[in-house]
Subunit: 351 residues, 2 copies
């Protein structure tokens, strides 16, 4: 779990004070990895830079990649004589995951792909701070950083992945475009539905998942102010991330990983594309999801898988069925009998 | 926040594996501070002791005291050539608070009373693990350890107070006597009511407080199995503790502190004695509380303050009104106009 958290509208102004006692010396910089959406925007101008701190803008157009992590680590090592005092990740799931991975690799040998899996990280990461600017992924609280590697999309899951400090300032989400707000919020909603309907559930994860789901309903189906909605979606993301940290996601995430890997479809919209066709697995959740689509006038892309070859479908199916823990959580120990490759292809063909 | 947590029925069996990598060497013991209720019971027999580890049984009959902390620290320092590898606190709020304070004082000079207040602890505490055996206080998750000092009952509030690891095993609460179960559970229920009705509330604390309150209603007014009830009350305590860690308690706690200080009344029952008379401040909460009393056939002691002198009442009032943050949270910035000493005495006289 994240040991330190600050919450509040306007709390971003506390960042300088939070970082100050963590500065080892004036040669050990803080590296700010920031979504390039904020380049030349007010937020980028108000970073508490000191000494030789470095601001690096990163595009979040594509899912984060292991080679991107390796390149950032190389650049940072080449640029400074000392290890940084810390890494600050500012953005959505892509930036938050990149910053976690960079913090790990700066203090562990080898390449990012070597650590994709469970508990493969031996040395602690360097101090790292996460600041979400969009709500829903749960990346700010999770003990994973999901990366596209040369062979697989898989997380670096370890106790060293988790942020040392998180700053939750709902005001930072004011400028999120509506469709992205919806798709990223649905990431939270969908992983709560998966966690709450999973066989791995216990009372710990259940209590977090139920609260996150309730907050999502308030945000996407309730009648509340924009300010309250930003507060609540940020907390939904937090509790939703806690819920899956101690349980597991399910069918939508397993299938969405295939779409990301083959077609580069981003995680939030990928989940939505899949989830709309999962009424047989999550009837109540899909019903609520369709109400949310209608209320917010969201039209999902169609025919995404229309032109795929059988070879493409085989790739989708292989990547997806490789996520064994997700399928077992969703369907139980006999999941291989329930979710055959043929059945999975039928669902992909609807997308 | 607590960086590591394990949850699950039977998870106590993992304690040995959790402690092993934290053992510095065979001369640096783990000190287990355990509620003496468990002396000669199965739990005490199954402690994962190694090398020169020490098991110390402590009575939880009275509220934890600063001098008790100092005595334990002295005893541990005298007994071993090295600082312990860590402290494990096993019990209710008293034991959990004692263990936190001992872990701080082993690595900080002076006496426990020197650190009562906010952020007075300079050096990190030694590694410490909290294992609750009764649910409701939130001591397992909070960043305070409330101690009776020579002059005041006040917490050592600091980032170093929080446990490094918590183990939540609902099975450990199986043997709690019914009245104690009720009073300690009500500690959680009451601090949630106070937090949710306080002026310090934000969306972070609100989401935790609402979930804890909902779980308390399931446990004390719902119709669920004993096993589910133990799971849920343990999670209620956890979320309730999180809620007040980032907000504040209110009238019941401020008044209950006075009762503890003057009469040695334990925190859980003290809160209940006060809360029953607070319908003007917390009408919905007090109504639910009375339903819970009735459902579980709990008869609160009466006439507790009947024989007090005016001098005694003055002490109660001074200790209670000294808790300025609690009153401001409950009643707003003008609390001194609202809660006069005379009005406070009228409420104490009903108890």
């Amino acid at each position: 779990m994240v040991p330190r958290v600050v919450f509040g509208q306007g709390s971003f102004s506390q960042l300088g004070d939070i970082l100050l006692p963590k500065r080892r010396n004036s040669n050990a910089p803080f590296i700010f990895l920031v979504d390039d959406y904020f380049e030349n925007k007010e937020l980028a101008m108000s970073m508490p830079l000191m000494f030789n701190d470095r601001l690096i803008f990163v595009s979040a157009e594509e899912e984060p990649k292991t080679e991107q992590v390796d390149a950032l680590v190389h650049e940072i090592r080449e640029s400074f004589s000392e290890l940084p005092s810390g890494i600050v990740g500012i953005g959505g799931g892509t930036l938050l995951d990149l910053a976690k991975a960079v913090a790990i690799l700066l203090n562990n040998k080898g390449q990012a792909k070597d650590y994709q899996g469970w508990d493969l990280v031996s040395s602690p990461s360097i101090y790292h701070v996460g600041i979400p600017t969009i709500s829903g992924t749960g990346a700010e609280v999770s003990r994973t950083t999901v990366l596209l590697g040369p062979e697989k999309k898989l997380g670096i899951n370890s106790d060293h992945t988790t942020y040392d400090q998180v700053l939750l300032d709902p005001n930072l989400t004011k400028t999120v475009p509506k469709e992205q707000w919806f798709y990223t919020g649905m990431d939270c909603f969908i992983h709560c539905v998966e966690s709450l309907n999973g066989t791995y559930l216990n009372a710990f994860s259940q209590s977090y998942g139920e609260k996150a789901l309730e907050l999502c309903k308030d945000v996407f189906l309730g009648d509340i102010s924009e300010s309250e909605s930003r507060d609540k979606l940020m907390m939904a993301s937090w509790h939703g991330g806690m819920s899956i940290a101690y349980s597991q996601v399910g069918v939508a995430h397993a299938m969405s990983y295939g779409l990301s890997y083959l077609l580069g479809i981003k995680h939030g919209i990928g989940n939505c594309l899949v989830f709309q066709h999962l009424e047989e697995f999550y009837p109540d959740g899909v019903d609520l999801f369709k109400q949310m689509l209608t209320k917010h006038h969201i039209k999902l892309p169609q025919g995404v898988c229309a032109d795929l070859t059988q070879n493409d479908f085989d790739t989708l199916i292989n990547v997806s069925l490789g996520m064994e823990a997700l399928w077992e959580n969703a369907l139980g120990k006999d999941w291989k009998q329930i979710m055959t490759p043929e059945r999975l292809q039928t669902i992909y063909q609807k997308i």
